[in-house]
Amino acid sequence: MRHLILLLALLICVCDYPPEEYEQEPNVYCLLTPQEDTVYALVGLSAGFDDTLKNTSRWNGVSGASVKIGYLSLREIPDSAGHYLSDSLSIMPSDTFHLEIRYPDARIVKGHTVIPDSFAFVSILIDTIIRPENDTVRIVISWSRSNNARGYLVLAEIYYAGPSGIYFWQVQYLSDSTIDSLKLPLKIMAPDTLDLVETNLQIWALDENYYDYCEFRDRGYETDPTPYMHLEGGLGVFGSYFKIKRRVL
């Protein structure tokens, strides 16, 4: 009988997981563009679910990491409390850049990105107000293709004048189309009580890494981030983009 009880106790104990411990993971954000010489790399750590953080609106940075970014050879960029900054990188379209970060605890994060090519607006057509959706302006945009782009991020900055000053509104749309010319209807709300002052359009050609990172933002909390991150050894993004901008209204 004693042996049976022992056997049952053992069976009961082995049929469950031990408590799961979470180890902080490397967390990285670094975007490159040929349009800017300055490169910021945010290097930080994730946190445990129950950890109390002092300031959640700031980057949870890590000092003392070795951050190297380069095209053919990697160059180390200096550190400032988790914000690593370089203003001497020469970034050209179609180049493949590599990132290697060695954390103070010797963990290594690696990634690479292919810089999207330059591109341009082909046409911007302002449609008439659509009925019955009053006060909705439709803009049809087309642009040339950017080589190496996985997709495009279209941002509309809309400024309204109201009784208390200027209001800012932003509309964004992620397009996964990779054909040569794209046309995108974009609806912009223009409420009766506000006057539309100015609308600017931005189109970002995104490499695969940054595109997937942006796509992940709209996914639910149950989504596994790993397939969207493209970083070896950490969470975050090492990506690139090329941006064009024009005032349309």
Binding site: L8, L11, I12, C15, D16, Y17, E20, Y22, E23, Q24, E25, N27, Y29, L42, G44, S46, A47, G48, F49, D50, D51, T52, L53, T56, S57, R58, W59, N60, L155, A156, E157, F168, Q170, Q172, N200, Q202, C214, F216, R217, Y221, E222, T223, D224, P225, T226, G233, G234, L235, G236, V237
Partner: protein, 252 residues
């Protein structure tokens, strides 16, 4: 890096189609019963079940949230599983004590996990006492160890930039191992009193039953308050108060 898996709070059922083989199960069971006296019996049973061609959707709630999703376009994956355990029962008239030990495991996409209905221990005691003059008193106590769930174990910063170039640091969550956590044990006591009588030549009984007599707050799920620092985990319960019911039963 930790493995991360989607949260599956509910089991989703869907119809299988011609692309998938039907579920195949081989069930082994052995048991014995013994009458200890004219009204007392004891039984024991052990089982093992092997399951093949089990299906689950890759995305939780795919059919529930997307009206345009049709069952034949759902991304289903095939897995295997097994279940094993034993059950003991001691019964005397209308009263009994039962205990069941059960383990079940699933394997999908090379990930082995305890599914959301894997209750390890089930204990059930039912006691019915005749009080005389056609009155009777009954109580039932149910105990079940907690179901598994997948919960967050960590968080990381997701950075996004608006049109003006301003950066925002949004905290997003890292889920732990699938089914790696367990809810607290579920238990409740139901009590009742019943009076039998005859009317128009038929047998009737009226009863008063109280479900969850000691107002146990059994946790159905956790709601996470990510807007607090540190984030809070708030339990949600169903029927956290005693629920009385009054009824009349006709026996034909």
């Amino acid at each position: 890096m930790m493995m991360k898996f989607p949260i599956f709070m509910f089991q989703q059922w869907t119809t299988a189609d011609q692309r998938h083989e039907p579920v195949r199960t081989i069930h082994y069971t052995i048991g014995c019963e013994k009458l200890l006296s004219s009204n007392v019996e004891v039984s024991a049973e052990a089982y093992y079940k092997d399951m093949d061609n089990l299906l689950e959707t890759e995305m939780p709630f795919a059919m529930l949230v997307d009206d345009e999703t049709e069952s034949d376009s759902l991304l289903l994956r095939t897995g295997t599983g097994w279940a094993s355990g034993f059950e003991l029962l001691l019964k005397r008239n209308s009263s009994w004590i039962g205990y069941a030990f059960a383990v079940t495991k699933r394997n999908f996409a090379d990930v082995s996990f305890y599914p959301i209905f894997d209750a390890r221990h089930n204990f059930n005691i039912a006691w019915a006492v005749p009080l005389g003059h056609n009155w009777s008193f009954n109580l039932q106590w149910i105990y079940r160890s907690g179901f598994p769930y997948t919960g967050p174990i960590g968080r990381y910063q997701f950075v996004w930039t608006d049109a003006s170039g301003e950066k925002f640091y949004e905290w997003r969550y890292v889920n732990g191992r699938r089914g790696g956590f367990r809810y607290p044990a579920y238990h409740r006591l139901d009590v009742g009193i019943e009076k039998g009588f005859r009317l128009f030549g038929m047998r009737f009984s009226s009863y008063l039953q109280v479900v969850n007599a000691y107002a146990r707050k059994n946790v159905l799920w956790y709601d996470y308050r990510f807007d607090q620092e540190p984030p809070k985990r708030e339990p949600y319960s169903i029927l956290p108060i005693p629920i009385p019911s009054l009824g009349l039963r006709a026996i034909f």
